[in-house]
Subunit: 113 residues, 2 copies
DNA sequence: CCGGATCCAGGAGGATACTG
DNA sequence: CAGTATCCTCCTGGATCCGG
């Protein structure tokens, strides 16, 4: 669910969460850590996302100043997405998430049960 | 939307996200970093959450092995929530999130937490 | 190739009242 | 105190078609 409805409320943790809500935000940011990507490259890297949702999430990320969107007026169309400085500042958060996942889900994840 | 529907799919980042989805999961975990808390203590610390949602999120966190729930059979009832070892392992992630929020949202007031 | 527009279902999340 | 139980709204996110 979206945390966007509560922007402006709560503590810094809640405010931060509102920027990275949505089903794919973090994943998109994570993929962009490796460098600039075009729209369909992102689609291929995240097979489960639909183009509608990818577009939507990219727009929100852009609106929040976390990524940049560069359109090349040419045929065929070419749109490139990259992390903005603000987006790059999230790198520690994203990597912390990834490292935790690698450490806690990869080898023996059924531990919780 | 819940990420829980996609458990078992995608990369470790997506899998990790599925554990901390929901509007309040991270906030609850963050509050528990300071120590064991009772149900109503959590409610007071997170005023915007309803008891229904708090119960629900706590149940999911427990099911995912991130927190422990201890019921003291007495009157008045007493239920204490605390981070499990697995929950504690998320501390770096939660703190990374909080620090980013402090650094990027705090221009005016996000320091309150 | 990169989307926008529209339609739609489902469930996340809220309000309120009640209970052991 | 610590939840259940019900009802309800709205937004997320999927499917599909269309456009530049």
């Amino acid at each position: 669910m979206s945390h966007r409805a509560m922007e402006g409320t709560g503590c810094s943790v809640e405010r931060t969460l509102s920027l990275i809500d949505g089903k794919w935000k973090i994943v998109v940011l994570y993929k962009l850590l490796r460098g600039t990507l075009r729209f369909n490259e992102l689609r291929r890297l995240i097979p489960a996302v639909t183009q509608r949702m990818l577009t939507h999430q990219l727009r929100e990320l852009e609106a929040d100043g976390l990524i940049t969107r560069t359109v090349y007026a040419q045929v065929p169309p070419r749109v490139e997405y990259a992390l903005s400085p603000r987006g790059w500042s999230l790198e520690p958060v994203i990597l912390a998430l990834k490292h935790w996942g690698d450490a806690n889900l990869s080898s023996s994840e059924a531990k919780a049960a």
